[in-house]
Every structure is written in structure tokens, then in C-alpha cells.
């Protein structure tokens, strides 16, 4: 591929995989470059970039409060990130983590309330509640997985549409009906009933709850499963070449089904943990914030590595956690979104430059500068 530019031409060629050192240094350089671009934009909008970055670091990680705030925000992001990782590994484009998270929250709160109504609580209740969340997410994803596996319909569209259906269901349960989920005694503003206190996830320090460790364990489990199980091996092969998978006797349809359901289970577990660890009830306003979509960005930034999702989710969460602090300084909250976008582009772009050699050179037809040929070799 080449692009003529006057007397020069820009050529792009795929190049050999670079050395491991370069590959490790590149994302760091990309992040640094992204922060630099972000700094220029902050400066151009009349703010102090150093102040902004200091504040972001401080509000993201500085001290116990900032850190717990960041980690609480990172918890659902890790899980939706994992949901994207496992599906994308097999080139199944599940963009329905949002809906799967919502359905997970609906099921978790529903089961939690039912258990509470029947006098069951404590650790047993928590396990059942979270299992319900994961199961509902898996089933919701399964709705898209079945036609994908057996009719080869486009999962992008089906998973996307199911997001809206899930949102509608949740809004209906709280805003438009007196359902099992809604608290009938509170009329000022429609609110979900709270699950029994004994089923709130244990809080360690401040608002930091056990959900973070469940998410970390989930990341570890996915990492292990992809690496060490027959299932993971089959996902690996199918993701690279479905024909080779069929050839070696694997059931590709079942793999699609299981991968999408595992993906949905992660997102659904995320919804359950939000209910058990942060909200305590089904709160439509707090569960439709795009965490499912953010998970896709997290997974892409983590280069589809289950363990990589953890630091990336924490980083992205730290940005979000810094939003109020930045605004107090007079830096608009959009800067945070912008910075996430810039970092994303820089990392993806850096990856591209790593794999393609770009050269600006004089066009072949043009006169050759003598000095180049005379240069000592």
C-alpha cells in the first residue's frame, strides 16, 4: 500500500513480529503519548494539565478513600471486561454485556428478596443470590447464542437488541409496576426493595466489599480455564480457525453456546455484585450506566488478557473516580471521557505501528539525491 504525496510517497508494509522488548515498551510509550496528547488538550482548553493529572492520580489512587472508591468502581468493570475477553477470544462479538449485567442484577435482587422473605440469608443467601445473577446473565446471553450457534445469525445485532429489552424489563419492574422488586412503602420516588442486611456483601474498609475479590477470582479462573483446560484449548483453536476445530472433531456450535453463556455469566455476576455490594436493591438508574460497553474497551485495552483486564479496569475506574475532583478544579468531566478515548486510540494505534512499517520516501520516478548513494556504507 502506498500513498503518493507530491515528490514523496508514503508506503505501508506489514513487518515481522518485533522483539519482545519492543513489544513491551510500545504500550508504555503509547500510554505516555496519550497522556501527552491529553495534556495538550487540557492545556488548550485553558486548564493546567499538571494539576489535572495530579488530581486524577490523587483521586484515583491517593489514599485509602480514593483507592477504595476506585476499586469499587473497578469491580463491575473487571467482570464486564472478562465477559468481553472470553467472547472476543473466540471472535464472538458479544456486545450485550450491558443487558446481561442488568438481567443479572434483576435475578440477584429477585432471588435475594425471595430468600429474605422466606427467612434465608447470610452466606447461603449470598451464594444463591450471586449464582442467580450469573445464571440469569448466562441465560440472557444464551438467547443470542442459540441462533448464533445453530442458525448462524449475527450475534452483534441480537446481543445489542437484548440490551434494550433488559433495560425495559428493569425499568418496568421498578418504575412502572408494583412488582416483587419494588418497595411499596416508598412513594416519593420509585425504589427497589432492599435485600436483607445479612446478604449485603461483606465490607472490608470503607465501601470496599468482597465483590472485588470475587471479580479477581473470576479473572484468575478465566485465565486458568483458558490456559489449562480442554475447554480453553478448544476455545483457542476455534477462535483461530473454526474449520480446524471442526476438522479435529470439536463441536463448534456447542463452543459458541458455552462461550457466550460464560461471557453472559461474568456480566450477570457483575450485576449481582453491584446489587449485593453497592446498591442493596434493584436501582435502574445505577445499573444502566454503560458498564457493559465500557467492558469492551477494557478488554480491548487489556488485549484480551483475563489478567490484563484487572489493571486496565482499575485504571479506567480511577478516571471515573477522579471526575468530581476534576470538576471541582474547573476541569469539565468530559475531559475524563476524552482521555479514555485518546488512550484507547493511542494503544490501538501503537499496536498498528508495531505491525506495520511506515516509510516516507521519495517516489521512484523522482530524481535521486546523489548524497544518498555516495554515503559511506
Amino acid at each position: 500500500m502506498s500513498l503518493p504525496l507530491g515528490a514523496f510517497e508514503l508506503t505501508v508494509e506489514r513487518q515481522q513480529i518485533p522483539s519482545r522488548l519492543v513489544r513491551m515498551a510500545a504500550p508504555t510509550a503509547s500510554v505516555a503519548f496519550g497522556l501527552l496528547v491529553g495534556a495538550v488538550i487540557i492545556w488548550a482548553s485553558g486548564q493546567d494539565p499538571i494539576l489535572a493529572y495530579t488530581e486524577m492520580a490523587k483521586k484515583g489512587f491517593g489514599g485509602r478513600l480514593a483507592l477504595t472508591g476506585t476499586l469499587v468502581l473497578a469491580t463491575p468493570l473487571i467482570l464486564t471486561g472478562l465477559a468481553a475477553v472470553v467472547a472476543f477470544r473466540m471472535k464472538i462479538w458479544n456486545i450485550g454485556a450491558e443487558g446481561q449485567l442488568i438481567l443479572g442484577a434483576v435475578a440477584s435482587s429477585g432471588v435475594g428478596l425471595w430468600l429474605g422473605d422466606n427467612g434465608i440469608g447470610g452466606p447461603v443467601g449470598i451464594v444463591l443470590m450471586l449464582a442467580a445473577g450469573a445464571g440469569a446473565g448466562a441465560l440472557w446471553a444464551g438467547l443470542a447464542a442459540l441462533p448464533r450457534a445453530y442458525l448462524n445469525t449475527d450475534e452483534v445485532i441480537s446481543t445489542l437488541m437484548l440490551n434494550f429489552v433488559a433495560l425495559g424489563i428493569m425499568n418496568y419492574l421498578i418504575f412502572s409496576s408494583f412488582s416483587h422488586w419494588r418497595d411499596p412503602s416508598r412513594a416519593t420516588f420509585p425504589v427497589g426493595r432492599f435485600v436483607d442486611d445479612s446478604m449485603f456483601l461483606h465490607r472490608f474498609t470503607g465501601r470496599l466489599h468482597i465483590g472485588l475479590f470475587i471479580a479477581l477470582a473470576a479473572a484468575g479462573a478465566l485465565w486458568w480455564a483458558l490456559r489449562s483446560t480442554r475447554w480453553g484449548f478448544e476455545v483457542w483453536v476455534t477462535g483461530d480457525s473454526p474449520r480446524a476445530a471442526l476438522y479435529s472433531g470439536m463441536r463448534v456450535d456447542r463452543k459458541i453456546l458455552s462461550v457466550l453463556m460464560v461471557s453472559g455469566a461474568f456480566a450477570g455476576l457483575g450485576g449481582g455484585i453491584e446489587v449485593g455490594g453497592v446498591l442493596g436493591n434493584l436501582d435502574p438508574r445505577a445499573l444502566s450506566l454503560g458498564v457493559g460497553f465500557a467492558g469492551i474497551v477494557v478488554a480491548a485495552l487489556a488485549r484480551l488478557s483475563p489478567l490484563g483486564v484487572i489493571p486496565v479496569a482499575i485504571l479506567v475506574a480511577s478516571f471515573t473516580n477522579a471526575k468530581p475532583g476534576l470538576q471541582v478544579l474547573g476541569i469539565p468531566s468530559e475531559i475524563v471521557t476524552l482521555l479514555e478515548g485518546i488512550l484507547f486510540l493511542c494503544i490501538v494505534g501503537g499496536e498498528w505501528f508495531l505491525r506495520n512499517a511506515v516509510r516516507l520516501q521519495r517516489r521512484a520516478a523522482g530524481p535521486r539525491p546523489v548524497g544518498v548513494e555516495a554515503a559511506p556504507s
Partner: protein, 547 residues
């Protein structure tokens, strides 16, 4: 040209038509050489074409026919050699320039805009036609050309409404409309029904009678004999010879096309055992839902290699895939030993001892993006020691890979390197390593040495022979006749999804094989006594006794 011993080749040297001045010479290509990635597709090929003749270009797949045509059509620039048109040396830098010289080519894949009408497609890219102004005259001309050459097609029809045969007519019309007088047809009958082919031949004759020159590319002997005035045979990128079709002996032509002397093989015949793979009346659809395999009967016994010969696209891929379970069979049965496996899964067949070396190595035989270590475990990962319950032991997978790499001499493997970066020979060794390490009872090997270098070919063939001697039943599908004749204990020829003939390799001469592959049943001088008009079934039956 290449010191080939084929006797019939030298009877009519093309240079008989004096170079340069002769008025009847439409085109002359001299010593055309064209390489792709260092592999010559045309090696010093000479070719000449007279006005008013239909000149057939005959050869197997990959013989260099399309390359030569593309050079004349300006699509490829030759590495060396000369092109003379109407006695004048030209340099064709693009198809556009070839068109300006009156040379046009109808490719195997049509280049028409589906949503446009016939007339619009004709006007498209025509330098001298302002489209709107001349629409009526254009339609008149189309109708006139159509009448004259039997190329009737409605100018107002949209391309997508037309049959493939009609679309081909539009392609020809397009060239005629642009003033082409040298017409190249690249395998034109491959996409046509027999009736459509006959109609095309009528058109070709009409054009030749009008003084135009036509190059007709084909690998089907019948057609060449039926329609052409002269024939040039290419093989392995070189010209084997040319002759007047009227003088040509079908058997000699077949031999020229296939080109080998009787084999030099050192066959160590082992006693064939009982039937390991039996295929009965197998019928299956191709990817486009058209029957690609019809009523195929086959049997491969232990310690036996059955070679399936044929020009690519005659049902070989479908046969292999149906046997291993990657393609549904519509009718018929497949047995592994005594067990009917027609409805069992691919996995079941693997477990029952069916190995498969697919022709598509990079996407089917291997997951190209994965390291070789993983690919070597593709089937064995299910059993101990590679797996323990639901787990796969990384260490066992690696150890196995190291062992197989050593045992099968697979080289160039670096840690975590995608398999696709290995050389073709090493990839094929690795596939064989994986398949054979499972100790299969039956091995289906498709195009086992295609695209490999000489050393690798030798090694792979030796592996197959050793495996045969160890008792495995091997069904080898190959377009390489030398390979078929050297390795097979029995040969079947596939043509248009049917078995055209069965031969003992000792009786298989290139002539016989070539004619069967080209869709002609054996003539009087061949061993089978079926009449020339007998269908494939008759041939199969009559020669079936030799199996």
C-alpha cells in the same frame, strides 16, 4: 524445448509459420517467461496465433495456460520475452493497452456490474461512448453483434437476471463492441451446461469464420478436439508442442498433457489385507448446493494406497470431506472396517482410527495462528497423557510436540511462533506427524505434496509408503499424476463427481489417465473395451473388475 521424450510432440513445430511477414499471423509470443515468487509459471513459452483460427491451449491445472493468456491480455507483464501483434512488436503495460491493440480476454470470473443492464455494462469504461447520447445506437449495435455471432441477449436486462451462460455472452459482446479481434477465452466451458457450451462453440466458429482469432483454454480433450483448429499443449509452465487438431491423436495429446513416462517407482508391494474403508454409492453436495459427488464406490484395503486422480474441482474435496465427516453425505454409505460411519460425528470417526491430511493445510489442517505445539495436539489433547480429566497438561503437550518434531524432522520451529510462518514442507510433515501418531487404520491424504519443494515431496512420499507398509489403508487424492502412478496400488479417476475409470497402476499409461481425467473414456488402444460413447458408469463397471 525441455528434452521431453514424448514422441508425438515434435510432429508439428509451431515455427513452421514463418515469423514476421506472414499476413495471416495475428499474434506471436516469443520465449515468454513469467515467475511468481520465484516459481516460474511460464518458462520460455512460444505461441503463435493466426487470423481466423480457433487455437486451443491445453494443459493440466497449473500448467501455465492462464498466465500465458494474461500476458497476452496485458494483465501481467512478462519477466522476459516478446509479444508481436499483427507482425509488430508491442509492449502491453495494461489490459487497456491490449484492448487498444484489439486483444481482449474473458476471465473465469466475470467482470460485470450486477445491477447495471447489459447495455450499461457495455458502455461502461468505453472511451468513445458518451453513454446517454448513444444509448440507442449502442442497443442497435448489441443486437446486430448478437445476431451475427449467435450471442442473443436482451440489452435492457440487468446482469443479475441473466444466467451464467448469458453473462458470458455479455462478456464476449463487451469485447467485440470494443473492437477486439483477438479473443481469449479462459476455461469458458467450466461454468457452462453442455447445451450452453455447444452454443458457445457455434459463436466461436462464427467469429473465426469472420476472420477473428480465438484462443480457447481448456483441459477437456473432447472440447479441444471438437472445436479447435490447432492445439498447443502446455505442461509445468513449458510448451510441450503444437499441432493441427485434425492431425492430433487423442492419446498422444493426453500423454503430452500429462507428460510422464511410465513410472520409475520402486514399488515394494505388500499384500493388501481386508477392506478398511468402503464407500458405497456416495452422493454429496458441493458448497453451492449442487451435487458435486455422484454415486461413488470405493474400497481401500489394509496396506494399500488407492490413488484418486483428476483435475481439481471434480469432486475430490467433497469426497475427502464426506469420508471424514466434514460434509454431509446425501446418499450412500461409508464403512470403516465393518462399521457404518455414515452418520457418525467427525470426532467418532477420529476415535475409530480415521486420519485426514486435508488439502487446505493452513485453515483446516492447522489453526495457522496458533503455535505448532498446540497444532500437534489438535486431536490427541483429549486423551491421556495430554489431558487429565478436563485439564490439558501443558508439559505433556510440549513434550509430545518436541518428540514429534524430532521424529518427523520438523524444522524452523521457534517458541510461540504461529504455525503459518513455517515452510510448507514442515507444515505438511507436522500434519502427518499428528495424524500418524494417532496410529490410524485409514488415512485420507488430499494433495499431500502440492506446493512443496523436491526434498519435502520425497520425504512425504516416503512417509506415506512406510505407513502403507505398516498396514494403514491410504486414500490418496492428488492432481499429480506422477505421484498417483508412483505411489498407488490402485488408481481411480474422478471426473465431474463420478468415477470415470479404475486402473491398475501397471496398466495406467499417461494417455489413458489423461483421457479419463479429461472426461473421455478409453479409446480402442486403451485396455478397457468400452465404446467411445459409453458413459462414465459404463467405464467404471467395465474397468471395475481390475480392482
Amino acid at each position: 524445448m525441455n528434452g521431453d521424450p514424448t514422441p508425438a510432440a515434435s510432429t508439428a513445430e509451431p515455427e513452421t509459420s514463418e515469423a514476421g511477414g506472414e499476413p495471416q499471423e495475428a499474434a506471436r509470443l516469443h520465449a515468454i517467461t513469467k515467475s511468481f515468487f520465484g516459481v516460474p509459471a511460464n518458462d520460455r513459452v512460444d505461441f503463435d496465433l493466426r487470423w481466423g483460427e480457433i487455437h486451443a491451449l491445453l494443459g493440466e491445472n497449473g500448467a501455465g495456460k492462464s498466465t500465458l493468456c494474461s500476458v497476452l491480455a496485458g494483465l501481467y507483464h512478462p519477466d522476459s520475452g516478446e509479444i508481436h501483434l499483427d507482425g509488430e512488436r508491442v509492449d502491453l503495460a495494461s489490459p487497456q493497452q491490449a484492448l487498444e491493440h484489439g486483444v481482449g480476454m474473458v476471465y473465469q470470473h466475470f467482470r460485470l456490474v450486477d445491477r447495471f443492464t447489459v447495455a450499461e455494462n457495455l458502455a461502461l469504461g468505453h472511451p468513445e461512448t458518451g453513454f446517454v447520447a448513444s444509448r440507442r445506437s449502442l442497443e442497435r449495435q448489441v443486437a446486430e453483434l448478437g445476431r451475427r455471432y449467435g450471442l442473443e441477449v436482451s440489452p435492457k436486462a440487468a446482469i443479475w437476471q441473466l444466467s451464467v451462460g448469458e453473462q458470458q455472452r455479455v462478456e464476449i459482446l463487451k469485447l467485440l463492441y470494443r473492437g477486439v479481434r483477438i479473443l481469449i477465452l479462459d476455461e469458458p466451458t467450466a461454468v457452462l451446461t453442455p447445451q450452453e457450451a455447444q452454443s458457445l462453440f457455434t459463436t466461436m466458429r462464427a467469429m473465426a469464420a469472420d476472420g477473428q482469432a480465438i484462443i480457447f483454454v481448456s483441459h477437456k480433450l473432447d472440447e479441444v478436439l471438437e472445436v479447435s483448429d490447432r492445439v498447443t499443449v502446455l505442461r509445468d509452465g513449458e510448451r510441450v508442442g503444437s499441432m493441427e487438431t485434425a492431425d492430433a491423436d487423442p492419446a498422444a495429446l493426453a500423454r503430452m498433457m500429462v507428460g510422464r513416462d511410465l513410472s520409475t517407482r520402486a514399488r515394494s508391494r505388500t499384500e493388501a489385507g481386508s477392506a478398511a474403508l468402503s464407500v458405497k454409492g456416495l452422493t454429496a453436495d458441493g458448497d453451492r448446493g449442487i451435487e458435486a459427488l455422484r454415486e461413488v464406490d470405493l474400497e481401500v484395503r489394509e496396506s494399500q494406497i488407492v490413488g484418486v486422480a483428476g483435475v481439481a474441482g471434480n469432486g475430490q474435496r467433497e469426497l475427502a470431506e464426506a469420508i471424514v465427516g466434514l460434509r454431509r453425505s446425501k446418499r450412500g454409505q461409508i464403512f470403516l472396517g465393518d462399521v457404518d460411519i455414515t452418520r457418525t460425528s467427525t470426532l467418532q470417526r477420529i476415535k475409530m482410527g480415521l486420519g485426514f491430511v486435508p488439502e487446505d493445510r493452513m485453515r483446516t489442517g492447522m489453526a495457522g495462528g496458533l503455535p505448532l505445539t498446540a497444532n500437534l495436539a489438535l486431536k490427541a489433547y483429549r486423551q491421556p497423557p495430554l489431558s487429565k480429566g478436563p485439564l490439558v497438561s501443558k508439559r505433556a503437550v510440549e513434550e509430545r510436540a518436541r518428540t514429534l518434531e524430532k521424529q518427523f524432522d520438523i524444522r524452523g520451529v521457534r517458541w510461540a511462533m504461529p504455525t503459518s510462518l513455517l515452510s510448507g514442507g514442515n507444515i505438511q510433515r507436522a500434519i502427518l506427524a499428528r495424524e500418524l501418531s494417532a496410529r490410524p487404520k485409514v488415512l485420507v491424504a488430499a494433495a499431500p505434496t502440492r506446493g512443496l519443494d523436491v526434498a519435502a515431496i520425497e520425504a512425504i512420499r516416503q512417509i506415506l509408503l512406510d505407513e502403507r507398509d505398516a498396514g494403514t489403508a491410504i486414500l490418496m487424492i492428488s492432481e499429480d499424476l506422477e505421484e498417483i502412478m508412483d505411489l498407488s496400488d490402485e488408481i481411480v479417476v474422478l471426473y465431474e463427481g463420478q468415477i470415470m475409470g479404475r486402473l491398475d497402476p501397471d496398466d495406467a499409461t499417461p494417455e489413458v489417465l489423461g483421457m479419463l481425467m479429461a472426461g473421455r473414456t478409453s479409446d480402442a488402444d486403451a485396455e478397457a473395451d468400452a465404446g467411445p460413447d459409453a458413459g462414465p458408469d459404463a467405464a467404471a463397471e467395465s474397468s471395475g473388475d481390475s480392482a
